[in-house]
Amino acid sequence: MNQVIDIKQIAERFAELKRQEKLLKTEIDGLKESVLGIFTEHEGQYNGGTFLLKYDRRDKWEYSPAISEMAEAMKSAKSEEVASGTAEKVQGTPFITFKDLS
């Protein structure tokens, strides 16, 4: 019985934190553009005394057609190995999906 209560509490706490996470993410996304705007004036770094905000950017590479063709060929080869049973399926990292019904 105790175990059932613990599971219920854990599950409800997990769900509550996921709800909070979603709210926080929405708020952070809303502030993101304004925060990005401060970095040119602050030369890449905002010093908050107890925290630092630093501008960073993930640049992408655009490859030549030769590389794109190789990537396509690799994708097809992988699909073929899965279909033929040559590729071996191994267990991945577990994760939990959360759907807010409220």
Binding site: E43, G44, Q45, G49, L52, K54, Y55, D56
Partner: protein, 172 residues
């Protein structure tokens, strides 16, 4: 251009909780010219890996005879004037070690980061100090020694502030 101090540190690892500072260097620039510098090795209890010693350019004997961290930090704090702009290349890394060692970073202290500043202004192959320095023609012969890196950081900062354009090709 107002005066500023370019700072770099060398450490035995990536986390201030598990690693130690072994060198702090700071170079003061006034009107775009170096006018003073601070540079000190820091004694550590355990011998760092040989590749770290080789990378930063110090022997274990030299490091064993260096002053204690507290003594170096006092001298460093005396060198840095209140309100003076601090310039780093990847500020969070160096500031994490410096604040862990007792440096207080006031919220009013202006801090610039040449790594991020270069990212905002220019598209380069990467934003390592060597690459950014090469892009702006800044000499960095002794990379990974804090004094050489601090000098290069200061010169890169000046180039960025002056609106210089990078050379078309940078070293990877």
């Amino acid at each position: 251009m107002k005066s500023f101090i370019a700072i770099d540190t060398e450490t035995t690892g990536f986390s201030p909780k598990f690693s130690n500072l072994i060198q702090i260097s700071a170079v003061r620039f006034e009107n775009g010219i170096e006018v003073a510098h601070f540079d000190s090795w820091i004694r550590v209890a355990e011998r760092p890996k040989q590749e770290i010693l080789d990378l930063v350019g110090v022997t274990w004997e030299e490091l064993r005879q260096a002053p204690e961290e507290a003594e170096v930090m006092e001298a460093f704090k005396a060198f840095v004037q209140p309100g003076e702009r601090l310039v780093f290349h990847n500020a969070p890394f160096d500031l994490a070690f410096l604040t862990h060692a007792g440096f207080e970073l006031a919220a009013t202290r202006p801090v610039s980061d040449t790594q991020s500043y270069a990212q905002i202004l220019h598209l380069l192959s990467n934003y390592k100090l060597e690459t950014v320095a090469a892009a702006f023609g800044v000499c960095l012969d002794n990379a990974h020694n804090a004094l050489a890196d601090a000098r290069a950081t200061g010169e890169v900062y000046i180039a960025l502030k002056q609106g210089k354009e990078p050379y078309p090709k940078q070293a990877a």
